[in-house]
Structures are given as structure tokens and as C-alpha cells.
Symmetry: C2
Subunit: 148 residues, 2 copies
DNA sequence: TGACAGTGGTTGGCAATCCGAACTAATTTG
DNA sequence: CAAATTAGTTCGGATTGCCAACCACTGTCA
């Protein structure tokens, strides 16, 4: 009766990924955002970001991001600002409304993820973070501004 | 010189989720599969599964899954088998070709995820698994057959 | 037996996502 | 200055995903 859930390492990572994704889905729904919009807004909470940086953070092709930003802009969540130093580039910025939603969504995502891990001892969480840091660097240091 | 990347807990989870997703994207691409198809095939490696079970494992609505399975079937990867005991239900099964691809993709996904964690000491990995198990149960025991 | 609620899946319509290839415009390089 | 790069957009097309409505079968209960 080894009723310890035989959860493999691979399995665990895949499930965890789904869990995180679901959080964005749910939080998004509460604020009438698609999961992708929610993730975008969370990235912008820290401040304006250029398109190219965003493609790296979100792992999207340029053209996909153009569409995502277009729809977010149409909903009045973000604004395109032309970069003065490089007139090709633009920076994506939260609008007033966008910022309100973004802050709430961002907080809610953090709250829920923390809640999921509420039962974990602090040291385990730290270990998990450093494990992830290791895996990220094993990947090569790609972009990806802080979500937090 | 605190050159420990100041990676928050939330951040870590989000990044990790992206990492896992990317693995499915890359492995999928190598076998001419969309990420969703890759995940579907990985679930089917263990054996045939009913639609309803799949919706729980993949966190999809019934209708979304119908489409996913349709396209996979059109590509000759899977087959719908009518369930004898319940003539409403059907079981999704790998075809001969599908099985070949599925086994390869499944192994490759596992290999890559393990590779990412190659530097982690075994005990840390186990701890990470149990941490995830804890988070999953905090969520309520939803479906999700073993991917492994 | 025979309504009837519940379950397993499909269909249809629609918005959003995502990609690759081709393109414009500004910047950098030689 | 010409050529190569870089930043973004546009366009066409396949996929993803949801909801509402639906069909077919199962199980229950009177």
C-alpha cells in the first residue's frame, strides 16, 4: 500500500506549469482579461517595456506580440509610446485604467500562488526558488524581466 | 555583492511554467506537433483515455478537446474507439504512427526536463516533487493522469 | 414500462493566439 | 554613402479555446 503519490519529477513540473497557467486564467477572468493579457499586464507593472524585451519575456514572435499589444491597446489597457532615442522602437506602457487592473491582477496572482504554497515550510520554498534559478541559468540567460 | 538573483517565489513559479511550456514547444516542433498535440500524445502513452478524463488532465472544455482530438486524428496520430460498455463514450488511443511519435516525444520531454535539473542534488529534486504534490493537493484533487 | 434527469461527446459560431514570410523605417557598420 | 542590422507592422492561415445548443445513451424512479 505505498499510497505515497508516485509523482515523477517530470510529471511534477508539468502539473505545476498547468497550475500556474490556471492561476492566470482565473485571475484574468475576474478582471475580464485573457490569460495572455494578464501576463502582459503583470510584466508592465514594473514600468514600460520595449517590444523586443517583451518577446523575450513572453517567448513570443514579434508578430504575435504586435497582435497581443494591439488588442490590449484597443481595450485601453496599454499605450504605445515612441522611443525618442531610437525612432524605430516603442515602449509599451500601462494606461491609467490599465494600471489599476494590472496592479490588482498582479497582486492576485502573487496571492494565489503564495496561497498554494502556504503549507510549505519557508525553507522549502526558498529551495524551490533556488532550484528554479538553477534551471533557468542552465537554459542560458535569456530575457525575462522580473514579474514581481 | 548579493549576486544571488533576487527571484521572488511567484516569479520563480511563473518562469518555471514558461520553461516547461517551452520544452513542449521545442520537442513538438522536432516531431511536427503543436505543443498541445505533444501534451496530448504524452498523456496517451500510458494507454487509451476517455474524453472526459482528458478534459480534466488538460484543463480544457469538452468542445476544445473535441477539436484537438479531431486534428490529431486527421493527422493519423490517434484513433477514436467506441467504448463497448458505455456507447456514448469513446476512448482516445494512439495509432501505430502516433505511438512511435508519442514515445519519442514523451522521452524527449522527460530527458530535457531532467537535463534542466541535472545540476540539482537528488534530494532537492525529491523535495521539489513533494512540494509540488503539496501544492496540487492544496488545489483539490482534480484529474490528471500520470504523464510519466 | 416509461418519462426524465444526468452524462459523454459533437457541432457551430466566434474571438483570440500564434507563426512565418514579406515589408517599412530607422540605425549601425564598413 | 551602400549594405547589413534592428525594431515593428502587416498579411494570410492554422490552431486554440470558449459558450450555447444539441444528440445519444445511461441510470433512476415511479
Amino acid at each position: 500500500m505505498t499510497r505515497q503519490p508516485v509523482l515523477g519529477f517530470t510529471d511534477a513540473l508539468v502539473r505545476l506549469a498547468h497550475l500556474v497557467q490556471q492561476v492566470f486564467v482565473e485571475v484574468g477572468k475576474e478582471h475580464d482579461l485573457t490569460p495572455q493579457q494578464a501576463q502582459l499586464l503583470c510584466l508592465l507593472v514594473e514600468g514600460p517595456v520595449g517590444m523586443t524585451d517583451l518577446t523575450r519575456s513572453l517567448h513570443l514572435e514579434k508578430s504575435s506580440l504586435t497582435g497581443l499589444v494591439d488588442r490590449a491597446a484597443r481595450r485601453g489597457l496599454v499605450v504605445r509610446t515612441r522611443d525618442a532615442r531610437d525612432r524605430r522602437a516603442c515602449r509599451i506602457e500601462l494606461s491609467g485604467d490599465g494600471r489599476r487592473v494590472a496592479v490588482l491582477a498582479h497582486e492576485e496572482v502573487a496571492r494565489r500562488l503564495e496561497a498554494l504554497a502556504a503549507e510549505l515550510p519557508e525553507e522549502h520554498k526558498e529551495l524551490l526558488v533556488s532550484a528554479v534559478a538553477g534551471m533557468l541559468s542552465a537554459r542560458g540567460p535569456q530575457g525575462g524581466g522580473s514579474d514581481r
